[in-house]
Amino acid sequence: MLIINCPLCGPRDHAEFTYVGDATKNRPENSDNSNDNAWYDFVYLRDNPKGLHQELWQHSFGCRCFVKVLRNTLTHEIIATGMPKDNLILKEKGLELSV
């Protein structure tokens, strides 16, 4: 069982959460055709990192908020959680993404 520490509700079983996706992807600023590659990357391309990964989860059985989770994809250890705007890598000094 994974325990995810929701910033609002506290520690909860991961079964209460729904996985949303990769939190490292940023939405392209423009929606015009000149930005097709950026949009293709944003919509379809995903890395499959071995190690630390920032993910978005939704606490769908609780406060329904989106939670950013820093998880080790190798060990499933959940290292840090925060609100979607938080940069968890900066919070966890000394840790770097192994992408």
């Binding site: 069982m1 325990i3 609002l8 509700c9 506290g10 520690p11 909860r12 079983d13 079964a15 209460e16 059985f61 609780g62 406060c63 329904r64 908020c65």
Partner: protein, 203 residues
């Protein structure tokens, strides 16, 4: 020919548990009596309220005579009317059904200020009372239900026995559990199974 009276006062809300509740004492009742009491709270007015305007909240508090809780997972209110924190800018208002609370609020506030969803028909409410009530909750969910963590006027929205539930701690060993009406019968059966070892009374 008999006339059918369709006025609002003549229509009584039917409980989702009406056909499954058996009253009496069940399970492992010891000499000290049942350690758990279960009853259904019905009928209730249950409204979900969304607003992000602080002045509106203040006006609503004055209208309802109950302060809105701003701390996460807490409730405020009295024996009659309760307001539960559901999420950011989202609350659940609960009271025994005796008037149209929705109309009262809608008459005072326009729909751009307050978003109301009537859940009265969609929720069943079960009250757990007794020294083993926390043990039942511990069986069904991983939330920290310890006496020091989950105290009076706290609430939790969680997966209880794999069903989405809202638990309101009314007193040290009194809990109101709000469950989707469609799953109420299932929940009632699970609750009876979980409570059998303690001995329980259905009131």
């Amino acid at each position: 020919m008999t006339e059918v009276n369709t006025s609002k006062n003549s229509l009584r809300r039917r409980s989702g548990l009406a056909h499954v509740i058996n009253y009496g004492q069940f399970g492992n009742i010891t000499l000290s009596g049942p350690s758990l009491f279960i009853c259904e709270r019905h009928p209730l007015t249950i409204l979900q309220l969304d607003t992000n305007k602080s002045k509106t909240l203040t006006d609503l508090s004055n209208l309802l005579n109950v302060e809105f809780p701003h701390t996460t997972n807490t409730c405020k209110g009295n024996d009659e009317r309760r307001i539960l924190w559901l999420g950011p800018n989202r609350w659940l208002i609960v009271e025994p059904e005796h008037g149209c609370l929705q109309t009262l609020i809608k008459n005072e506030f326009n729909s751009s200020e307050v978003f109301l969803t009537d859940l009265s028909h969609g929720r069943s409410t079960v009250r757990l009372r007794g020294r083993k009530a926390r043990d039942i909750l511990m069986k069904g969910s991983g939330v920290d239900w310890h006496l020091n963590s989950f105290v009076t006027d706290n609430c939790a929205h969680t997966k209880l026995f794999d069903l989405a539930a809202t638990v309101d701690c009314r007193d040290i060993d009194v809990f109101d559990i709000y469950i989707a009406r469609g799953f109420a019968e299932d929940f009632w059966e699970i609750l009876q199974d979980a409570a059998a070892e303690f001995g329980y009374q259905v009131d």
